[in-house]
């Protein structure tokens, strides 16, 4: 179980509490600038924050931050790249083959030059890069915002498969239909306050 306890950043995030079981997808929705990414960054411990986050009863404060981030992987909405070739950005390139095909890319992608990839390709590569670490929980910020319908379906299918394998997912999305397809628990972020929410209605 991924447990967020009284996680807060003064002025940006009111103490937020939520929990997601292994194999479950929790969805956080809300307008841009409401504080969704602040919450995600705080879970990954990327900014100084108050409160605690636990995975399977183990507090992140009890382990070095790099170990925590490999266990609970956060994929930001905006991906970062530093080397020329795609493959150089992978800590575990051997794990990537199956994941690449699952999101509709080929294993050839590892040899691509980053500057020639599209934003949709980079979004999927960033997800694959994180999944190749084989994390036990995922925090995904808008993971399909730059994708066409067919790629989005492939990514969602992959996420469903991971849920089946017992991975816990916290999904941040603007897409109500996607929230309905993947989520089983829902929250809404408004001006830095996280409130439980019903499943969004069908349009």
């Amino acid at each position: 179980m991924l447990e967020v306890r009284q996680l807060a950043r003064p002025g940006l995030l009111h103490p937020a509490t939520l929990s997601i079981s292994a194999g479950e997808c929790g969805v956080v929705m809300g307008q841009s600038g409401a504080g969704k990414s602040v919450l995600a960054r705080a879970i990954a411990d990327l900014d100084p924050n108050e409160g605690d986050v636990l995975w399977q009863g183990q507090s992140r404060n009890a382990m070095p931050a790099p170990q925590w981030r490999r266990l609970v992987a956060y994929v930001p909405a905006e991906s970062g790249w530093w080397a020329q070739r795609v493959g150089e950005h992978f800590v575990h390139p051997d794990n990537a083959d199956d994941l690449l095909t699952a999101v509709g890319l080929t294993t050839e992608a590892m040899n691509w030059s980053i500057s020639r990839t599209s934003s949709g390709e980079r979004q999927r590569l960033a997800l694959v890069r994180a999944l190749a670490m084989q994390p036990q929980a995922l925090v995904l910020d808008e993971p399909t915002s730059a994708l066409d319908a067919s790629s989005r379906q492939k990514v969602e299918a992959l996420l469903q498969r991971l849920l089946g394998e017992g991975v816990a997912i916290l999904l941040i999305t603007h897409d109500a239909a996607q929230a309905r397809r993947l989520g089983s628990r829902f929250w809404r972020m408004e001006q830095g306050r996280l409130e439980p929410e019903q499943m969004p209605p069908e349009l």
């Binding site: 990954a44 411990d45 990327l46 900014d47 100084p48 070095p64 931050a65 790099p66 170990q67 981030r69 490999r70 992987a73 956060y74 994929v75 930001p76 905006e78 991906s79 970062g80 790249w81 530093w82 080397a83 950005h89 800590v91 960033a126 890069r129 994180a130 670490m133």
Partner: protein, 269 residues
């Protein structure tokens, strides 16, 4: 007046060398380039500065007193540290604005000049200002440039490459691993001027110090030996000083939970 190939200049001979500059100033006046006044002014200022420094050096050399030499070295180090601080494009907040640059400049600079005096040159006495001050000056000047370039490159990377650095952190890198590619690039930037100087030395340019010694009548091979010693010292010191300053800044720009701390930059405006 020639003596061992060394030609002592008379004051009128120095004045004669200014003739070309006077012609340039006259032409500037003619073309109304608005340059003549400032040209004459900087030239006059240079005369005053250099005469003054000549007199000060004459006094220091004649005294050859440890405390007087130390005082002169302190003034030089202070100026260099101030320059490092002023040239930072993206300074950190608080004492960190000056601490990493100044501390590494001073520590490495003093270490290097002591090494030069005690191991390499061994003048009598060991603190002889004729050797100590020019060497300290060259070390300071070059380290200053190296530190400034290195720090500006690393703070620039920490600002612009935030997404990439945090992506590395999120893949389980420690703070040092995460920033390593950018630190390597910054170190290359810091070392570029001295590497260029080494590559060009003797082929494209005759280093200023060597030229001076040759003009002053020193045998060319002796001048070359001095120049090599200085180049080795400078290149080593620039690398060490820039690296030390960068490590200090990286340490401050990240924290023990392996986060990038952009909030520790000085607030702009």
């Amino acid at each position: 007046m020639a003596q061992n190939g060394y030609i002592t200049l008379q004051y009128w001979e120095v004045a004669a060398s200014a003739l070309l500059l006077v012609i340039t100033a006259g032409l500037a006046l003619l073309f109304q380039a608005g340059l003549a006044r400032s040209l004459v002014w900087v030239a006059a200022r240079m005369v005053a500065q250099l005469l003054l420094v000549g007199l000060v050096l004459k006094f220091i050399f004649e005294a050859t007193n440890l405390w007087i030499t130390l005082a002169a070295a302190t003034v030089m180090a202070g100026m260099a540290m101030r320059e490092v601080m002023r040239r930072q494009q993206r300074p950190l907040a608080g004492v960190w604005r000056w601490l990493p640059g100044s501390a590494s400049l001073l520590f490495i600079g003093v270490l290097a000049v002591l090494y030069a005096q005690l191991v390499v040159l061994r003048p009598e006495p060991w603190h002889a200002p004729r050797q100590l001050l020019p060497i300290f000056g060259m070390i300071l000047g070059n380290s200053m440039t190296g530190i400034t370039l290195g720090l500006n490159a690393i703070t620039e990377a920490a600002t612009r490459e935030r997404a990439a650095i945090e992506a590395r952190l999120l893949l389980g890198c420690t703070r040092w691993q995460a920033i390593r590619p950018f630190a390597a690039q910054a170190l290359r930037t810091a070392l570029t001027p001295i590497m260029n100087a080494m590559a060009a030395a003797g082929i494209i340019s005759l280093p200023g110090m060597m030229t001076g010694q040759i003009l002053a009548g020193a045998p060319p091979v002796e001048a070359v030996k001095y120049q090599l010693m200085i180049m080795f010292l400078i290149a080593g010191v620039v690398g060490l000083a820039a690296l030390a300053a960068m490590i200090g800044v990286i340490w401050r720009l990240t924290d023990e939970r392996h986060r990038l701390r952009q909030d520790r930059f000085a607030q702009v405006g």
